[in-house]
């Protein structure tokens, strides 16, 4: 579904991505692992059209995303729950979710997706008329993921969904992701929390300072020395 080939991104003077290639097949959950500054977020931002790559290609089902503006990419079927949640604090939970469906006109389907998000995160239903800024960190993360789902994406990008959350909330979050996976959704998951990500994903890539240094099906990755030492701490 998603094909990234030889992607180069310079950020200011920094060569943030140095020719990375990877792909996500339909119905697959793929994770990009790596330390801070490895280029994970930059990769997602390049896919969403928020940064312009200097070289390389990104395509969704064969259609190039290079040079497209973010809103066009959302309309083509990619949505993202960004790093740091970035919910709209002054808008209510419901308004945040409806904004996620901004580009859609089919109100019946939007309503159905809203019900789905509420069933996935019942706490959002309880708090739907509260302002987003009043939610706890975990609830804000649920809102960010729910909002991304409201776009009705073919491909869902999740950027560090476990960042700053208590372990019990991480478990809850990943339970919701597991449900999305069961439904056959296609997800590209960026994480520093390798343990959580590897428990969910089918396939993984390890990024280090802008390069892919390891890849493979998750059972294999979990056993590899590199991942064990650097990311699982065993």
């Amino acid at each position: 579904m998603l094909e990234v080939k030889n992607l180069h991104v310079y950020y200011g003077g920094i060569h943030a991505l140095q020719g990375i290639s990877f792909s996500v097949a339909e119905g697959q959950v793929v994770t990009l692992l790596g330390a801070n500054g490895a280029g994970k977020t930059t990769t997602l931002r390049a896919i969403m059209g928020l940064v312009r790559p200097q070289e390389g290609s990104i395509s969704l089902n064969g259609v190039s995303l290079i040079g497209k503006r973010p809103y066009e990419i959302v309309r083509m079927g990619v949505s993202m729950a960004p790093e740091g949640r970035r919910i709209f604090p002054d808008l209510t939970v419901l308004e945040n979710l409806l904004l996620g469906a901004y580009a859609r006109t089919d109100t019946v389907k939007v309503q159905r997706d809203l019900e789905f998000v509420f069933s996935l995160f019942p706490r959002l239903r309880e708090r739907q008329y509260q302002r987003g800024g009043t939610l706890s960190g975990g609830e804000q993360q649920m809102l960010a993921v729910g909002r991304a789902l409201m776009a009705g994406p073919k491909l869902l990008l999740l950027d560090e969904p476990s960042l700053g959350l208590a372990p019990v909330l991480i478990t809850e979050m990943y339970r919701a992701f597991a449900r999305l996976k069961e439904e056959g959704r296609t997800i590209l998951l960026v994480e520093q929390n390798a343990r959580a990500a590897l428990s969910l994903a089918d396939y993984g890539y390890v990024l280090d300072t802008g390069r892919i240094v390891a890849q493979g099906p998750t059972p294999e990755l979990r056993e590899s020395d590199l991942v064990r030492q650097a990311y699982l701490g065993v």
Partner: protein, 297 residues
């Protein structure tokens, strides 16, 4: 008693005019962190458009007013498109200086335009506005009734637009986080254009009604009302739409009450207004309803 009531109505009239103009300042500031210096001149142009359409094209007044709102709204959109959008990524000071440039351009265009420049022009005021209504000992001019009513209708319409529609939701979202609003599938440029459209349309309504109240047209007529409306936006909390309305009414009332009850001080009305502005900027820069805004990177 009658004097009080009359002055109160005058204050409400002036306040509703300030409120209409203040909205445009506050909405644009909320999104672009730009004090749109051209906004007062947009307001001034509205008066001239009514003059052009009524005197030169001999259109009926109400039709001229409607056309003026449309034309001025599009002027606002065009200014953003041509002057501000190319500088979206530029340092904010460039944007600010450009806004000052656009302001001078709009003022000087009026000075050099053959049918507009030179001497003051009379504003065509419809009889509805000059008519005197008497209720007991209170004599009220049409403007004092119609201006607040029309302004209130526009402001209610705005509140509906901003709080109950999809594009309004995007306008509020974009004011906190442009990039994330783009991630929602909203075309940022379009939402910003809508913002200028709405802000300029309200300034146009303000300009049309201002002419009915003060029926003289001159190139600089937008400057002082513009600054006062800007002050109103700061008082209410810049970036906050309801705050701008509140600030407008408060300022209008304060101004009229000072003039009415301390007539000796009326020459100092602008000094008084700018003292309020400085006071707020020093002690409560976020205004009455505003809250601390994060600096955008």
């Amino acid at each position: 008693m009658a004097t009080y009531l009359q002055q109160l109505l005058n204050g409400v009239t002036l306040g509703s005019l300030y409120a209409l103009i203040a909205i445009g300042y506050t909405m644009v500031y909320g999104i672009l962190r730009l004090i749109n210096f051209a906004h007062g001149d947009i307001f001034m142009w509205a008066g001239y458009w009514v003059f052009f359409l009524v005197i030169l094209f001999r259109l009926p007044w109400w039709l001229s007013a409607v056309c003026t709102v449309a034309i001025v709204a599009l002027m606002g959109v065009a200014i953003e498109r041509l002057a501000y959008r190319p500088l979206r990524e530029a340092p904010r000071i460039s944007l600010l200086i450009t806004a000052i440039g656009v302001s001078f351009l709009l003022e000087n265009l009026i000075i050099v335009l053959p049918w507009a420049g030179g001497r003051q022009k009379p504003y065509p005021t419809p009889s509805l506005m000059t008519q005197i209504y008497t209720a007991g000992s209170v004599r009220i001019q049409g403007v004092t009734i119609w201006v607040p009513l029309i302004a209130a209708a526009c402001l209610l319409g705005l509140i509906f637009l901003v709080y109950k529609t999809k594009v309004g939701r995007a306008m509020r979202a974009i004011a906190t986080d442009i990039e994330t609003t783009a991630l929602m599938g909203a075309d940022i440029n379009r939402v910003i254009s809508y913002t200028f459209l709405v802000g300029s349309a309200l300034a146009a309504v303000g300009g049309i009604l201002w002419g009915c109240r003060y029926p003289r047209l001159q190139w600089d007529l937008g400057i002082m009302p513009g600054w006062r409306a800007f002050t109103a936006a700061v008082i209410g909390g810049i970036g906050n739409i309801v705050g701008a309305m509140l600030g407008g009414f408060l300022l209008g009332l304060a101004e009229i009450l000072i003039v009415a009850f301390f007539p000796k001080l009326s020459g100092f009305r602008d000094a008084f207004i700018f003292a309020i502005l400085i006071f707020f900027l020093l002690f409560r820069p976020t205004g009455i309803l505003g809250k601390t805004m994060k600096e955008k990177v």
